[in-house]
């Protein structure tokens, strides 16, 4: 099928039973023949989410091979955590996914609490829930900007990135920091809501709602955006499990999975929301689904403000963290981040240090196996938009 702007597109994946999916790597091409061009996109490139790079082999404008390279943000967090105390680690984990530090804080704390048998007070579960939803909102706003920018719509990118700062203002007030909040701590949270927070939060939610309506008019009801994103990078349903695809990337093809509903944690079982799904499973569908989920965030934050207890304890009784020994155990905890299942696998051996932490970020497969597969057969001009539509964050791959 020939689309405007000279882009060829077709589903690169043959449909069929999952068992018949072929994970084989493409054959290497003969670069010396002069027929092909090898091109590096990234690690510093506005069309790349974060710092990673794509090693592209092109035949004309068409990508015939894509290899992803990570490691530009590798700081060895999993290793660092093995030599820091349980309390110290909570200040480290937020750095694992820069745009969504809170999920790391929550999951790390939750894993420690689960193994040590600590029950957090109700108020803390609400504060955590709201914090996570605020994080989702901020992250989605940044993503919308990225998606718009990748298709040349920098106006929208400026709107959302600037508005994200208002959400960061809320974080600053609530947690004392804009990016690395370090608010969710093993045992609960570090503080309740500051005076007057609720009013300001509601004001910012109202503004965000208005902004999203404007974005829908400007970015989604937009010929250019539609032309470039519709039919791009379709993920067929049979790819979902074999490629470990989760979150909006899976929901956009009709897979109704959301950990907030399927295995409710924190206060999610007390909140009203539905899983948003799509059908077309292309870049546009994923984008539109995320827009709806962004709206859902606003509703969830409002619900949290309506329903959370405004006083009472926000921290469980804790042992002295200076020599805190967590009993030997093993657990895997997960939460639905903006990109799907985010998980912490933790093994403890009864000492003052954690034995092993493995951080599972959805980008691990979305940005590598899925990306490499979907890129093949697409036009070089679409690669940035495609990558953003998978919504990947490299630091969580490298940890």
């Amino acid at each position: 099928m020939k689309l405007p702007f000279g882009r060829t597109t077709s589903s690169p994946i043959s449909t069929g039973h999952s068992a018949s999916l072929d994970f084989a790597q493409p054959e290497p091409v003969d670069l010396a023949s002069g027929k092909y061009v090898k091109l590096w996109q990234g690690p510093q490139h506005p069309g790349i989410t974060g710092n990673m790079s794509l090693e592209l082999t092109l035949d004309g404008d068409t990508i015939i091979d894509c290899k992803t390279h990570v490691g530009y943000l590798h700081r060895g967090f999993e290793k660092l955590m093995e030599r820091r105390s349980f309390i110290q680690n909570f200040t480290v984990v937020c750095r694992i996914a820069v745009p969504e530090p809170t999920f790391n804080e929550y999951l790390y704390s939750h894993a420690v609490e689960e193994i040590s048998g600590i029950e957090i007070p109700e108020r803390a579960t609400w504060l955590r829930t709201m914090n996570l939803e605020m994080m989702r909102l901020a992250s989605f706003l940044m993503w919308i900007g990225g998606q718009g920018g990748a298709f040349g719509q920098y106006t929208v990118a400026n709107w959302t990135l600037a508005y994200r700062d208002y959400v960061l203002d809320l974080f600053e007030e609530m947690t004392g920091a804009r990016i690395y909040h370090m608010y969710i701590v093993p045992g609960g949270v570090r503080a309740g809501l500051p005076d007057g927070f609720e009013g300001r939060a509601r004001e910012i939610m109202d503004g965000a709602e208005k902004l999203l309506d404007q974005i829908e008019r400007v970015m989604f009801n937009n010929t250019v955006f539609k032309a470039r994103s519709k039919g791009l990078a379709i993920i067929p349903p049979e790819m979902i499990d074999p490629y470990g695809i989760v979150g909006p990337n899976a929901r956009a093809c009709g897979v109704k999975r959301d950990l907030r509903k399927d295995e409710p944690y924190l206060a999610y079982d007390q909140l009203d929301f539905d899983i948003v799904t799509g059908t077309d499973s292309d870049a546009y569908e994923r984008a539109y689904l995320r827009l709806q989920e962004t709206r859902q965030c606003i509703s969830l934050i409002r619900q949290c403000l309506d329903r959370m207890p405004m006083d009472g304890a926000f921290q469980a009784d804790m042992p002295n963290v200076l020599h805190w020994k967590v009993p030997a155990g093993e657990t895997y905890v997960k939460a639905e981040c903006t990109r799907g299942e985010y998980g912490y696998y933790m093994v403890t051996d009864g000492s003052e240090l954690v034995r092993r932490v493995h951080v599972r970020g959805p980008s691990y497969t979305h940005a590598i196996a899925v990306m490499e597969r979907l890129a093949v057969g697409n036009n070089i001009a679409d690669i940035a938009g495609m990558m953003v539509s998978l919504h990947t964050y490299p630091p969580e791959i490298e940890r």
Binding site: A24, K79, D241, P242, G244, E263, E330, Y332, R360
Partner: protein
């Protein structure tokens, strides 16, 4: 769950079955049956999702424990499959034909722990550590502190006192317990 575990015990000789929480059970299986067992869990038992694959270094026992976390979306249950292999150059059976992301994990484990997965694609390619010249850094014997002490300097003029020692030196040098 119990039925499945009984069957796995019978057919694959799994042991060390531990219910970590209602939604998570872990067990240990011998290396030789691991791939078959995981394949069977995926194809026949609905554990279609590979959450992750990782490794724990039990240096004191001389083993690496590989962990395959599988998830069943319908039953909302997870299984942690543990496989022990020797720390010393032992190969592990690759599962890159089962999940598309498996080879990435295996490439990472190769780089971070030095585990070999024969047949796994692009295994020798650098993952995170381009130009790394030391031992695989996630192995327990790799000391990050020592590594950074060797390569990076400290700010000049830093010095810290222990309150207790400082007070002894300053206030009661000749008293207290004799040297141990």
């Amino acid at each position: 769950m119990n039925d499945l575990m009984e069957r796995l015990q019978r057919d694959f000789g799994v042991d060390d079955i531990t219910v970590r929480k209602p939604a998570l059970t872990t067990f240990r299986v011998k290396k030789d049956s691991a791939e078959t067992l995981i394949r069977e869990l995926r194809d026949r038992e609905g554990y279609t999702h590979l959450n992750f694959m990782t490794c724990i270094d039990y240096i004191e026992d001389g083993i690496f424990t590989l962990v395959y976390m599988l998830h069943n979306y319908d039953k909302k249950l997870s299984l942690g499959v543990h496989v022990d292999i020797s720390r010393e150059n032992e190969d592990m059976v690759s599962i890159h034909t089962l999940w598309a992301q498996a080879w990435t994990y295996q490439r990472e484990l190769r780089e971070m722990y030095g585990i070999n997965f024969p047949g796994s694609p692009r295994l020798e390619e650098d993952f995170c550590l381009e130009g790394w010249d030391d031992i695989p850094p996630m192995r327990r014997e790799f000391d990050t502190k020592e590594f950074s002490e060797q390569r990076f300097g400290h700010r000049e003029g830093r010095h810290s006192e222990e309150p207790r020692d400082h007070m002894k030196v300053e206030l009661y040098p000749n008293r207290g317990g004799d040297e141990k």
